[in-house]
């Protein structure tokens, strides 16, 4: 009994130490964002600012003199459209592959699994040519179409894995009542697979907040930039030294993502695990 309590205490200590390592860089980023640009290079570096060099000027600069709201709304627009498009397309594909018989079903699923393995950015050259052909360069839709196509294979794979766990008897019951495959899809599959669709959607929603390679290739105009591109360009425009400004911007950029996590924490976890357990 005593040993069990001791080992539990040890668990707390180890977890707390690890948590410090995880969080300290974040805290440092936040406190640096509260200091003037000159103070960010003072030696010795300080994790916590002293009263005298505490300032909100960086936030004032980022939020009022920079197009932060514009970058955020671009990112949110791309995120919402990509997430919705992927959720609709992937759940329909997943249903067809999991439940319906048609020629080339195995081939389609095999191809989807294979494309899952190809890094989206690896197709850069032909995708860029395609974007030029369709006049999608310097257009948010250029990002949306390609993001949706990148995310569809993995989303389909996860949702299909979830649909496989829904009993087929439910489909049969709808059939006997004279329902079509639409009825099965909308009345049975979508409601029952909604946890996996929601989880995949959160995952997809985060992509525009994350992806740099393709978005910086396509989005050239400042007014169209999404968050990762804007942050990178902002960093370069400030001679790579104005850390106070840069971190004020990154801290602001983190707010929506953290809010999303806190609100939807449950789905973050089910999404990862439905894939993990099904393999």
């Amino acid at each position: 009994m005593k040993r069990a309590r001791l080992s539990k205490a040890l668990s707390y200590v180890l977890l707390a130490l690890g948590a410090v390592v995880m969080v300290l860089p974040m805290v440092y980023m936040f406190t640096t964002s509260l200091r003037s640009n000159d103070a960010t290079f003072s030696w010795p570096p300080r994790i916590f600012p002293t009263g005298s060099d505490l300032t909100f000027a960086n936030y004032r600069y980022v939020l009022s003199e920079q197009n932060f709201v514009g970058y955020l709304s671009n990112t949110l627009f791309v995120a919402v459209v990509t997430t919705l498009a992927t959720a609709v397309v992937a759940s329909m594909l997943a249903y067809c592959i999991a439940r319906l018989e048609f020629h080339g079903r195995r081939l389609l699923y095999g191809t989807i699994i294979t494309t899952m393995l190809v890094p989206g950015l690896a197709m850069l050259v032909p995708q860029f040519e395609l974007a030029v052909t369709f006049k999608l360069v310097d257009d948010l839709w250029g990002v949306i179409f390609f993001y949706s196509a990148w995310m569809t294979p993995f989303s389909t794979f996860l949702i299909k894995g979830f649909i496989d766990t829904i009993p087929r008897e439910l489909d049969e019951a709808v059939r006997i009542d004279g329902g079509s495959i639409y009825t099965i899809f909308f009345r049975v599959i979508v409601p029952l697979a909604s946890p996996s669709i929601a989880a995949v959607s959160i995952f997809n929603f985060l992509l525009p907040f994350e992806e740099l390679g393709w978005s910086q290739t396509i989005l050239k105009t400042d007014a169209l930039r999404t968050m990762p591109v804007a942050i990178t360009m902002f960093f370069q425009a400030h001679n790579r030294t104005d850390w106070g400004f840069v971190f004020a911007m990154t801290c602001c950029a983190m707010v929506p993502v953290i809010l999303l996590y806190v609100l939807l924490q449950r789905y973050f976890i089910t999404g990862l695990t439905s894939g993990a357990i099904k393999g």
């Binding site: 948590a19 994790i47 993502v257 393999g279």
Partner: protein, 307 residues
């Protein structure tokens, strides 16, 4: 024809069902066909040409020249070695640490939600943000050097983290592990919660200690999850682009390039060697697919043979 039983029972409905099936399939087929399948095929074709983009440009067929150029290019070789180094170091370490954290969180009763949030914070933070942050921390005058030199007295002068190949790669690797622990924690925590408790009770009766239980009960039960994490993380490691782009930009002298940053550079640099970039991409894609297939072959859990 693969089992048409469910359709043939309702012959009249068959034609309608075909139409409905197509409406469900087509949006996905069009999206994937245009923006994924077609680019992959096109990439394969491009890799055999001296490809040029734009009007009035002709592309010449050059056979395997692009592939030969990749294999004889010292930077491409270095980029591949760097990518493999990143994969081989970050994947096992973040899995081991993530599993360790998951085991600890699984044992405790209070604050588990708080710990989960704290460890997950780096996962939801964008790569651009954490890469900039690490660039600042690993700076010559940065926080890490201050700790190493003035607090712990482990180094005499400032460590030049970002100016030599292996130091810069190590910094990126530390970032990769730090950012990945939380993801592994969540995935393994779910797997641990699914292990039947009776098995642990039975093991206690058999007199197995904590390590014995972990070895003989926990590990076999989470084998599927380990495979899943291994495949996902290996794909992710070959996908590495943003941290290198932000932290080193491939410098010094392209020594820290990974395959994707080198491909990006080749595509959009002044010379614009698109054919070269396409063949490099294709080699990477083939490599990733090969690794994933190997992993599945070797550690496929028994009894999970169905698709």
């Amino acid at each position: 024809m693969p089992g048409n039983r469910s359709l043939s029972t309702q012959r009249r409905g068959v034609r309608q069902d075909v139409v409905r099936l197509l409406t469900l399939l087509l949006p996905g087929l069009i999206l994937l066909g245009m923006f994924t399948f077609y680019p992959i095929l096109k990439m394969f074709i491009m890799s055999f040409f001296n490809w040029r983009i734009g009007y009035q440009q002709t592309s010449d067929f050059v056979g395997l020249q692009n592939y030969l150029a990749v294999f004889s290019d010292p930077v491409a070789g270095m980029a591949l070695v760097n990518t493999l180094f990143y994969a081989v170091v970050t994947v096992p370490l973040q899995m081991a640490l993530g599993l360790f954290v998951a085991v600890l969180i699984h044992r405790i009763t209070r604050f588990s939600v708080t710990f989960r949030l704290l460890y997950y914070l780096p996962v939801i933070t964008s790569w651009v943000v954490v890469a900039l942050l690490f660039r600042y921390i690993f700076n010559n005058q940065g926080l890490l050097n201050y700790f190493l030199k003035d607090v712990a007295h482990l180094a005499d002068g400032p460590v030049r983290w970002l100016s030599t190949r292996w130091m810069a790669l190590s910094a990126t690797t530390i970032l990769g592990i730090w950012k990945g622990i939380g993801w592994n924690m969540v995935v393994f925590l779910a797997a641990l919660q699914a292990v039947p408790l009776e098995q642990y009770e039975a093991a206690s009766i058999d007199g197995l200690g904590a390590f014995g239980k972990f070895r003989y009960i926990t590990l076999p039960n989470i084998k599927g999850t380990i495979l899943f994490a291994l495949v996902m993380l290996s794909i992710g490691a070959f996908n590495t682009f943003t941290p290198i782009m932000v932290i080193t930009g491939g410098n010094p002298a392209h020594q820290t390039e990974v395959v994707l940053t080198w491909m990006y550079y080749q595509t959009f640099s002044a010379t614009g060697k698109m054919g070269y970039a396409a063949s490099l991409s294709f080699i990477v894609a083939a490599l990733v697919a090969g690794i994933a297939i190997l992993l599945f072959r070797f550690i496929r859990p028994e009894g999970e043979g169905k698709s």
